[in-house]
């Protein structure tokens, strides 16, 4: 149990560095304060069906959540929404998903 948690956090950090490599590969400039909006990764995991308090969830599910968030950003750009409004829209989506998760859990008595 202790070792599993340790490995989870370690792998999380490792994957952060892997993400940084891909980021460097795609962008030409960055600031040291980069990545503040990466807290949305939590939103992606919840959107992908991971139970918020732990214990349930799959990586393919998280992939679905990631694609959902990325699609949102792209579609909003094409539709002409200003980039400063993304965060608000994404926040509303995440709140809605969490509410639905809670309702589902209350109704069925099981984790989503």
């Amino acid at each position: 149990m202790i070792r599993t948690k340790l490995l989870c956090y370690g792998l999380s950090g490792f994957l952060c560095a892997a993400g940084a490599i891909i980021y460097l590969h795609q962008n030409i400039s960055a600031t040291p304060g980069e990545g503040a909006d990466l807290l949305l990764s939590f939103a992606a995991t919840i959107l992908g069906g991971v139970y918020m308090y732990g214990g349930d969830g799959t990586i393919p599910g998280v992939l679905v959540g990631v694609i959902c968030l990325a699609s949102n950003a792209s579609a909003l750009t094409i539709a002409g929404v200003s980039p400063s409004n993304y965060q608000g829209v994404l926040g509303v989506i995440v709140l809605a998903v969490v509410l639905v998760q809670q309702e589902y859990e209350n109704n069925t008595g099981a984790a989503v």
Binding site: I2, K5, L6, L7, C8, Y9, G10, L11, S12, G13, F14, C16, A17, G19, A20, I21, I22, Y23, L24, Q26, N27, I28, S29, A30, T31, P32, E34, G35, D37, L38, L39, L40, S41, A44, T45, I46, L47, G48, V50, Y51, Y53, G54, G57, I59, P60, V62, V64, V66, I67, C68, L69, A70, S71, N72, A73, S74, A75, T77, I78, A79
Partner: protein, 205 residues
Amino acid sequence: MTKAKASLQRHNRLFPLVAVLVIATVISRGVFIRPTNLILVMASAAAFGLVSFGQALVVIGGGFDLAVGSLVAMSISGIVFFRSDFGILGGTIGALAAALVAGLISGLAVSRTKIPPFIVTLGMLSVADSMAWIVAAGQPITVPSTMTPSRRCSKAFFSAKTYFRSSSSFSDLSPQACSSIGTNGDVTSTLSATTNRPRESPACR
């Protein structure tokens, strides 16, 4: 639970994705679903996706990792600014190891003590953030052109690179910086074009 019910529940998770794709296609009037745009979406989600997988591991384990953003920032600074001493490979391996060690430290603190993950990773967020600023010496980071995809590579990516260049909404680069990279391909010209910093900054080494 019967097998059919289980499989239905598993496919349940795809319903939000289908809904999002349909809504996105509708509000973008059909532009979203074009292959070129889908490639762009996938490419822009790559880094975010990797970070989310790590976050998912932690969340499934009942924790929460606030530090992901600043660990990415720390890795970016580390790769770019240790490249001058150890080469690209050395900088990359060093950044991977540093982020792994940072994650293991917060994992150790969470699993061995009773400190809530929120507090531990909040501390790690601050530490990694300040490491990023220290390593970068407070300067904006300009990625050397040897790290961005070469022309040979980008051909294999369905000419996704031309799409990156043409769409100004996905990159915050000035056209000036782009053209200077294209003609000179040197770090210094880009740096002067974007930031007007003197040549003594660490990025120019």
